[in-house]
């Protein structure tokens, strides 16, 4: 098991290495390079030379890269060009908001997705199944930003129940106020993710329901409900764990867009703002943090899967 975890970690090294080179190179690929970004177009040669020397840009590129990587690994992504504050501090301020959104959205996705998958898998081909698979197609096909706008139109503009722009209120400080601000963004993101969840889980459940052990359990006289709860659900959820990793990519994309719809002050919105103000250290920092979270969750999922399913061979 330890060897398996270590090998999965080792497989990640090339991915992260190549990604880090790409993220590092970003700033050099921009017209004008790092100096042009910091000084603008009207700088004179003396200013440029001084800055090049100060930033160490006259050193070999490989040394600059490892220097940058060394700092990045310790959480030092430099200083935001816009606010002049350390990037890691800015990220630290926004990250809790995004994590809170993601947590509530996951809860909504699970609460919606599992019953939908169960109901349609237990009656394959019925009108209920057709309706529910239509629903998951809708959840996947309706763009999150349009769904978000429709929710704002209904609940903020027409009914005036909820705020149209969401603030970040920590759940433990004021749960009610936090939910008022969180429920629309979380539902928008959650509905989308529940579509992915329902589709995979339904397929997984249908294949399990046809398995021999189900027939055996049935012939032993076990009730259908008990078979589903105790036997099928367990086996169907297993392959499903791997989907969670895949879902994370949709989740990150969805979060960036959802935060933009509701002007929710999370990491994704900060990244978009950083792109529009061409704040490269901040862009790099946001992308690295999101990527690391994404990779870490995928790794955890893989290891968890190997742990709960004894049939997986670690070799």
């Amino acid at each position: 098991m330890t060897a398996y975890v270590l090998r999965r970690l080792a497989q990640l090294v090339p991915v992260l290495f190549i990604a880090s080179i790409g993220i590092f190179a970003m700033i050099y690929a921009v017209p004008g390079g790092p100096v042009g970004i910091m000084l603008g177009e009207n700088a004179n040669q003396a200013e440029i030379d001084a800055l090049v020397h100060d930033l160490g840009l006259d050193r070999p590129i490989a040394i600059q890269y490892f220097d940058w990587l060394g700092s990045a690994v310790t959480g030092d992504f430099g200083v935001s060009l816009h606010s002049r504050e350390p990037v890691i501090k800015l990220i630290g301020e926004r990250l809790p908001a995004t994590l809170q959104l993601a947590a509530v959205a996951t809860l909504i996705a699970v609460l919606l997705g599992i019953p939908v998958a169960l109901a349609s898998a237990l009656h394959p081909g019925s009108w209920l199944d057709r309706m529910l698979s239509g629903w998951s197609a809708l959840a996947l096909g309706v763009p999150t930003f349009w769904l978000g706008i429709l929710l704002i139109l209904l609940f903020a503009v027409e009914l005036r129940w909820l705020p149209s722009a969401s603030r970040y209120v920590p759940l433990w400080e004021d749960p009610l106020e936090a939910l008022r601000h969180l429920i629309m963004p979380a539902a928008t993101l959650g509905v989308y993710v529940s579509g992915v969840l329902a589709r995979f889980l339904r397929a997984s459940l249908v294949s399990q329901l046809g398995a021999d052990y189900v027939r055996t359990a049935r012939s032993k006289g076990l009730s259908r409900g008990r078979i589903v709860r105790v036997h099928v659900m367990r086996n169907a959820l297993l392959p499903f764990i791997t989907v969670i990793g895949l879902m994370m990519a949709t989740f990150i994309g969805g979060a960036v867009v959802t935060e933009a719809v509701f002007t929710y002050p999370g990491l994704g919105r900060m990244l978009i703002q950083a792109i529009s103000t061409r704040d490269y250290p901040l862009i790099q920092g946001c992308i690295i943090v999101m990527l690391v979270i994404y990779v870490a969750i995928n790794l955890t999922v893989d290891v968890l899967y190997a742990y709960v399913d004894p049939r997986i061979e670690y070799s």
Binding site: A137, P143, W146, V157, A260, V261, I275
Partner: protein, 287 residues
């Protein structure tokens, strides 16, 4: 393509797929003949800004008094062209990658599939945003960003297809008769993979249109004044009180387009699965 006409017949027999095909056909016709049909997405009429849908303006007008229906039609052009370009780009790179990786195996397979893994390991939108941060926002950048994220899909599907076809008698026969690798790959294996590639094209179209619209909505996609659905939703969001239809109608066009591609993609998958099962049964009987 193996049984293209038959697949099309199967497709139009399914109600959902038929409706989707019809919707997309109308959309493409409108986009192609937009000029001839007299749609004008840039003509401003400030006196008629933010007007509700009426007989003169079926979809209403935007904040500059431009006809929203015209902008939705031209937005279809932007969407379909960006997504189409992205899919072609992804296919032109991804298909040969999959062919070479599957056919030769060994180090070529290892190197190419590792590259695909790296691409797959990055959430598409993060990759697209990073690319746009470097190149600035333009239609080309959006197309490139969406296209590159589509490469793994093609490479993987074609590779899997090659691995299964290589063992088949007709491919082995070509090699036995001294056919070159290129001949085997492009004249023997590729023609038998078109069905799977077609499904991937349809699936990727819906993903590409969604991603393109998301980038435009975030304000980093195809830059104005080119009309695009994502950009219209972005601006429309500022006028939810005065003109709710401004954000509703372009969003509806976008959603129906995505759902249509998704429906056709799923129908195609089902049809091909049935067909494969039939082929396997037939071969089982023959042997």
């Amino acid at each position: 393509m193996r049984g293209g006409a038959r697949i099309l017949r199967e497709l139009v027999r399914r109600k959902g797929a038929l409706l989707s095909l019809a919707f997309l056909a109308v959309l493409v016709l409108l986009a192609v003949f937009a000029v001839a049909l007299g749609f004008d997405p840039v003509k401003q009429n400030i006196l008629h800004s933010l007007e509700a849908p009426s007989r003169a303006y079926w979809f209403g007008t935007d904040e500059l008094g431009r006809d929203i229906l015209s902008r939705v039609v031209y937005g279809a052009r932007t969407s379909l062209m960006t997504a189409g370009g992205a899919v072609v780009l992804a296919g032109v790179i991804g298909v040969p990658m999959g062919l070479v990786a599957g056919f030769f195996g060994g180090w070529r397979d290892a190197v190419l599939m590792r590259a695909v893994d790296v691409l797959l390991a990055l959430p598409a939108i993060l990759f697209a945003l990073a690319l746009i941060a470097v190149f600035g926002r333009s239609q080309g950048a959006a197309m490139l960003a969406v296209g590159i994220t589509g490469i793994p899909g093609f490479a993987r599907i074609v590779r899997a297809q090659v691995l299964s076809l290589r063992q088949r008698d007709f491919v082995v026969a070509v090699e036995a008769f001294g056919g070159s690798s290129g001949y085997s790959m492009f004249r023997t294996i590729l023609p038998n993979s078109w069905n799977q590639i077609l499904v991937q094209v349809v699936v990727l179209c819906s993903i590409a249109i969604l991603l393109e619209a998301a980038l435009a909505f975030l304000g980093v996609g195809v830059p104005p004044p080119t009309p695009s659905w994502g950009e219209m939703l972005r601006t429309g969001k500022s006028y939810l009180h005065e003109a709710p239809y401004y954000a509703i109608l372009p969003g509806l066009a976008l959603t129906l387009t995505i759902l249509s591609f998704d429906t056709i993609g799923r129908s195609l998958t089902a049809i091909l699965e049935n067909e494969d099962a039939a082929v396997t049964r037939a071969e089982g009987v023959a042997s």
